[in-house]
């Protein structure tokens, strides 16, 4: 293993005449004494990384923004990544960067402007939701998982209630299933619309995001009139949904549906005909079929690589077997294909909503359940197709009123993992076109 580069690159203390003075004053002034106890380098001064003429009391920048971890490497891959060859350098992107869709940090190894290797650093949003769920009862799990993937939280709720319903053998009323599909597909449209806007924003186009937010705001307000919340809906329940469709929701939905398809097409032409956008995405970050399968990529990213895998058809749940819709696929596998797939899916979702509205049955919206849920001991797995791919949950019950283990499998994790194979060989400026086209949401990844 090579010598730890962090220590080698650390700037030595600048030997100046002021050193003796500052030591003497630090002994006298109580502020400095406290400072010395926090950090032993109080008497040393460091040249600033930005401007060597500026002398800093502490070497602030070097530790904080150093991409190299301040501890010895532990794995084969890590030591391979953190050793530089001739002409290579590290560049740290994030964690606070407007284009990283949350708090993602990418340590990139560059050769000139070309990316050689990437090491994504995760965990900045880790909240330990799985552990919290083990200490919550079955009703509480629903609002614990809500804020994970904040752009499509209804799908988190859906994935959470499905294994519990399996464990308890609950028959969900048909009207509740229709309402779930209706609201879920609405949110899928909202999420895909935002994806298009953010992709354009990451490539430098400001206008599409504004149009995306018009659509999203309409959908979110619509759902707020149904559920009472704009983002964290807490609407699905074990055995049904929380409230029946109301007049305000239906009238808003009717208004929106009358222009949805036309508006979607109009928003799409904003980008589809844009030559700069096409040139920056076509042929960039090509993900082939085999790599996608080996990496466990799902959702639109997998379908853009030519695999027609969609949980709604591959392993149907709810009322999807009764509905008519297509699974759009594309063969190219580049960033542009991943963008166009989402457009096609919006059209299919509008078709599904249309069918739901025409076939909506009457009846109850909740199954009859006891107030304290104690499923039989056992295990259940269920998956839904969220806007980002297959979102699965695995619940183990020990017969008490809290899940013994509650596992959430978020599609964004594996969708982001494949970025470390897509990025090498590309230019630094394409990083965002590729990462953004994979549509990761860090809240779901970090759990």
């Amino acid at each position: 293993m090579p010598e730890r580069p962090a220590s080698a690159r650390r700037r030595p203390a600048a030997p100046t005449a002021q050193t003796a003075d500052s030591t003497a004053s630090s002994a006298a002034a109580p502020d400095s004494a406290q400072y010395a106890s926090l950090d032993d380098v109080s008497s040393a001064q460091y040249a600033s990384l930005d401007d060597p003429r500026v002398m800093l009391d502490r070497d602030i920048g070097a530790d904080l923004f150093e991409p190299i971890p301040p501890f010895p490497t532990t794995t084969e891959r890590e030591s391979e990544f953190y050793s530089l060859r001739d002409g290579e350098m590290f560049l740290n992107l994030g964690p606070h960067h407007p284009a990283t869709h949350g708090v993602l940090r990418l340590v990139m190894k560059l050769s000139g402007e070309q990316i050689v290797d990437v090491d994504p650093v995760l965990g900045y949003l880790h909240r330990g939701v799985e552990k919290i769920c083990e200490n919550s009862d079955y009703y509480h799990v629903i609002d614990q998982v809500d804020p994970l993937e904040y752009l499509s939280s209804l799908f988190q709720e859906w994935a959470a209630v499905l294994p519990f319903e399996k464990l308890m053998d609950v028959q969900v009323p048909r009207r509740a299933e229709y309402i779930r599909v209706l609201t879920g597909e609405l949110l899928r449209i909202s999420s895909h619309t935002l994806f298009q806007g953010f992709l354009a924003l990451d490539l430098g186009g400001l206008a599409p995001i504004l149009y995306s937010f018009i659509e999203r705001d309409e959908i979110v307000e619509m759902l707020a009139s149904l559920t009472g919340a704009r983002m964290l809906f807490n609407y699905y329940r074990i055995g049904g949904v929380n409230g029946d469709l109301n007049h305000e929701f239906m009238s808003r939905l009717g208004d929106w549906m009358s222009r949805a398809l036309k508006q979607t097409e109009a928003n799409a032409t904003l980008l589809n005909g844009n030559e700069i956008f096409a040139r920056r995405t076509r042929g960039v970050g090509v993900l082939d079929r085999d790599t996608a399968l080996r990496y466990g990529v799902t959702g639109g990213n997998l379908r853009a690589s030519g695999v027609p895998f969609d949980v709604r058809r591959a392993h149907p749940y709810s009322i999807y077997p009764e509905l008519e819709f297509n699974i759009p696929t594309r063969e190219e596998g580049d960033s542009l294909a991943r963008y166009l797939i989402r457009l096609d899916e919006i059209r299919e979702s509008i078709r599904i909503i249309d069918q739901c509205l025409h076939n909506m049955p009457d009846g109850p919206i909740m199954a009859k359940l006891p107030r304290l849920l104690r499923p039989r001991p056992g295990r259940a797995w269920a998956a839904v197709e969220s806007p980002r791919g297959m979102l699965g949950t695995y619940a183990i019950s020990d017969g008490s009123d809290q899940p013994f283990r509650f596992r959430i499998h978020d599609p964004s994790l594996l969708n982001l993992e494949v970025a470390s194979t897509l990025l090498p060989g590309n230019l630094l400026a394409d990083t965002m076109a590729i990462v953004s086209s994979l549509d990761p949401v860090m809240g779901g990844i970090d759990k």
Binding site: T74, R77, A314, M390, G392
Partner: protein
């Protein structure tokens, strides 16, 4: 429930199964020894009548007595989800073979299982912590890891105050109180 999957699994994996194939709802479950995992996964992935080509999930489980690694697989040849449980990893030194030779994407899922349970996946090139800081020393999803605040034990957090018959034991009184519930299989 896919009855024919059971016969296909028995024919292909007969001797490698620890227990008979278990089926319920739309799930089929098999249990194998951790050492047989690479062989079993390869057969499931490559056999022409099985073709489980999509790794839906890889999760660690602490049952209170042993550790498990749970794989969920999907195949176009079956209408069931397949659950493969690598059962019987010791809690002191949990070790399992890596699945990265088949699904490269399992690397991060195994990192997560290592981070949360301390399960060592032999053959994973990059087995380090993924969510917790690199200098962290505990494994948070193990059953003997208690949340450090009493919020986790308050009635508001959903602890079963309804049915608790005696005063709750603290960890200081009794170290085994850390494992809160009866083990499940």
């Amino acid at each position: 429930m896919d009855r024919s999957l059971k016969t296909r699994l028995d024919a292909r994996l007969g001797a490698l199964l620890r227990e008979p194939v278990y089926q319920r709802n739309d799930e089929t479950e098999i249990r194998v020894d951790p050492g047989n995992v690479p062989e079993v996964l390869t057969i499931l992935h490559d056999a022409v009548d099985l073709r489980f080509e999509i790794l839906a999930d890889l999760a660690g489980v602490d049952t209170g007595e042993v550790m498990q690694v749970v794989y969920h697989l999907w195949s176009p040849k079956s209408s069931d989800w397949l659950r493969v449980i690598a059962d019987g990893l010791s809690r002191e030194d949990p070790r399992a073979p890596s699945a990265t030779f088949l699904w490269t994407g399992a690397e991060w899922l195994e990192r997560e299982a290592y981070d949360m349970f301390g399960i060592i996946f032999e053959g994973n090139r990059d087995l380090r912590r993924i969510f917790m800081p690199a200098d962290y020393t505990s494994f948070p999803l193990r059953k003997d890891f208690l949340l450090p605040d009493d919020a986790a034990r308050s009635p508001g957090a959903g602890v079963r105050h309804v049915e608790r018959s005696q005063a709750p034991a603290t960890v200081a009184d009794d170290p085994s109180a850390g494992i809160r519930r009866a083990p499940v299989s």
